[in-house]
Symmetry: C2
Subunit: 422 residues, 2 copies
């Protein structure tokens, strides 16, 4: 393989230049390896090739794209431009459908296109978070079918992205990363390619194990956020300040998470379903009870907060239907303009559904953007009651702007609740 | 209070010289304060006064008892010997009954005796783990009743023990300790007394908050062990090595615990019930679902392991009823001769109940001691199948003695699963 490498020829293709793929492609380029980035978004490709970073919130990415965009890192919408590469890293999103089953539509499209250029002895590494068994199963089948190659003709491995939006570059440079092959040779080969640009790299016994590792992390977070939510409710019932108790309960052996309106985003609320669905399909209902309960507890938090909001309304001397309620923050977490499974948005909609006079305000969104989500926008100063979803705080119009976030429970960044979002 | 202190008069009494009380009394004495230790066990008192440590497994305690026993630390079975003290620290066990409700029998007896010597302006600090609200509620009522004092006549606070058997001295010297009063004055006074012998001391707003902090820690561990057990089962189902996956999944934001036969001992399996029972009494069934599920998942592990043992029996070419099964380890955890809620013991009994030819072996126990628990003892070399409960390993007679524990999943000390056992 090394003999084919020249100054001018890209060795590695990164398929998908989204929030996870672009930082990875930039880090590979920065290690001195020429990369072709493939993305369906032509506008994004153009920007990158001009040295302009399409994800400005990603720390350190500006410099890398400026330096390597159009040079060591060439973006293209055409798979044929990557045909000479020998390693293909696929990092396109997999979402879930309304039944929480993975929706492989985008992935399938990418794999079919990749199949069109795949050659014998090429290495394919998947990075998208998958239900365990996906790489060695449907991914391999699809690649075989699309390329006409047999399963032993190409090498196939899995290495889950572990980035955190905003910190992806430092994550790639410092955080442990795991990689596993669908067979021994694939594992060895993938490890030797990745170690050229990932310093903290760990080989595991199989692609399946590497897939499980990523899903387990999501389950850990979901269950622990569920526990925090449950303990928060119990503290409220017992007249105890949860945040005071949490601060003193946490130590090197005890990591109680932060409560919330539930868990949103493409990652944490989704990954437990990968295991729950598979266990339930196998009729192993006893083997996923805690994961399912945690999901239900977290999703049940919007009902809890609806109850708490109504309690606050009791204190306002107005007919309930005319109490102007402002939901402050409707994205799934603070600082990120993403709505997937946003519990804050769901809470606002649930209140509207009940006939309450509910409005939304989100500093990331224009009035029109709020309306696009079926909600009315309000200046918080016009509201009778403001519920700050990110900090779980009640504000009155007169408290606005009362924005010292560091003083609230969010002193720990809410972003710690989400790692690795595509 | 200081004016009453002299070289010869004890200032502080520690009521209960068990696994938690004795190390605390020794640490107080070592800080230069004269202590009276009160314990119903006269033999234990005699030993202590002779400078002999009744808990030799407690690191660093030998030296302290040798130095202070009978001098700075005087043990007695008679509360009257502590009558001149102005601070009373109560650290006697509270167990749970068969319905998981706290059984205050021993505590009540201690508080009644304490009431007989309690004086105006004395300070009482409880250290036993309680359901939140116990100190300001039943404990205060009982002390008032037994002493004839009114509730404002004495100071009352709570500071949960956070020791770990074997490491209590270092825990007391280094680990953060919290303290909270039933009223402001009690909190201030208790903090100022405790800071004389506890360096890492944190004041919290109330006794109730301090009680919750300790219970929350137990809940965190129970839920996380439940999660580890569930992920272990799922990995087994998916053909993934849980221990390999866990090793790579754990990092600074992810703390997946160790799987087990369930959770035993007086602490972790008990504390969640303090909250579950209280929430269910209040008909807040929705507020304790995760805690209850985790309890059920952990308690359900003996059924799971029974199934796994039967699978192993399939491989043995003998009628099932004559397969000699050895359960290796029946205490609730390795290295501690305690049986309360031992899931290992429960597993052995469950197998016997089903008519299997089950035996037990525990290196801490004699054959007679095993028999006292209703089980037959066996030399593991005579067994067809050995299940090592502490390391979740299968052994055959020919593997015995195969005792390199560091090689198994128990490389992390199983003791990390239990903190603060009375």
């Amino acid at each position: 393989m090394t003999s084919e490498t020249s100054e001018d020829r890209a060795e590695i293709a990164v398929i998908g230049l989204g929030n996870a793929g672009l930082p990875l492609a930039a880090v590979i380029a920065d290690s001195g390896i020429k990369v072709v980035g493939v993305d369906v978004n032509r506008q994004r490709c153009l920007l990158i090739n001009q040295g302009k970073n399409p994800i400005p919130e990603e720390k350190g990415l500006d410099g890398l794209i400026e330096k390597h965009g159009g040079r060591k890192l060439v973006a293209t919408a055409d798979y044929r431009d990557a045909a000479a590469c020998r390693t293909f890293i696929v990092i396109v999103p997999v979402f879930v459908d309304e039944n929480y089953s993975p929706d492989f539509t985008i992935m399938q499209k990418a794999l079919r296109s990749l199949g069109g250029i795949l050659k014998k002895r090429d290495l394919v590494v998947l990075e998208t978070t998958f239900p365990p068994g996906t790489t060695e199963g449907p991914v391999r089948d699809l690649l075989c079918h699309a390329s006409g190659l047999s399963r032993d003709d190409f090498l196939l491995a899995y290495s889950p992205e572990r980035i955190m939006t905003g910190y992806s570059i430092s994550r790639l440079k410092e955080f442990p990363k795991v990689i596993g092959g669908t067979d021994e040779q694939s594992g060895i080969e993938a490890f030797s390619v990745y170690r050229r640009f990932i310093s903290n790299l760990h080989q595991v016994s199989s692609a399946r194990a590497a897939e499980m590792i990523k899903v387990m992390e999501g389950c850990y977070r979901d269950v622990n956020i569920g526990l925090a939510n449950e303990l928060f409710r119990i503290c409220g019932e017992l007249g105890i300040d949860f945040f005071e108790a949490r601060e003193q309960a946490c130590h090197q052996y005890c990591h109680i998470h932060l409560p919330s309106t539930g868990v949103g985003g493409h990652c944490i609320p989704v990954y437990p379903w990968f295991l729950i669905k598979e266990m339930e399909r196998r009729e192993k209902f006893e083997s996923c009870r805690l994961l399912r309960t945690a999901r239900e507890v977290n999703d049940g938090m919007i009902d809890y907060w609806m109850g708490r909001i109504l309690e606050q309304c009791l204190k306002i001397n107005k007919p309930l239907a005319s109490v102007k309620i402002c939901i402050l923050g409707i994205t799934f977490r603070a600082g990120v303009k993403e709505f997937y499974h946003s519990r804050n948005l769901a809470l606002a909609k649930r209140l509207a559904e009940k006939g309450l006079d509910v409005y939304a305000f989100d500093e990331l969104l224009s009035s029109e953007e709020v309306q696009r989500w079926g909600l009315r926008c309000i200046d918080p100063r016009q509201a009778d009651l403001i519920f700050d979803c990110f900090n779980l705080r009640w504000l009155r119009a007169e408290d606005w702007p009362e924005r010292d976030r560091a003083a609230g429970p969010s002193a720990e960044p809410a972003s710690a609740d989400c790692k690795g979002c595509l």
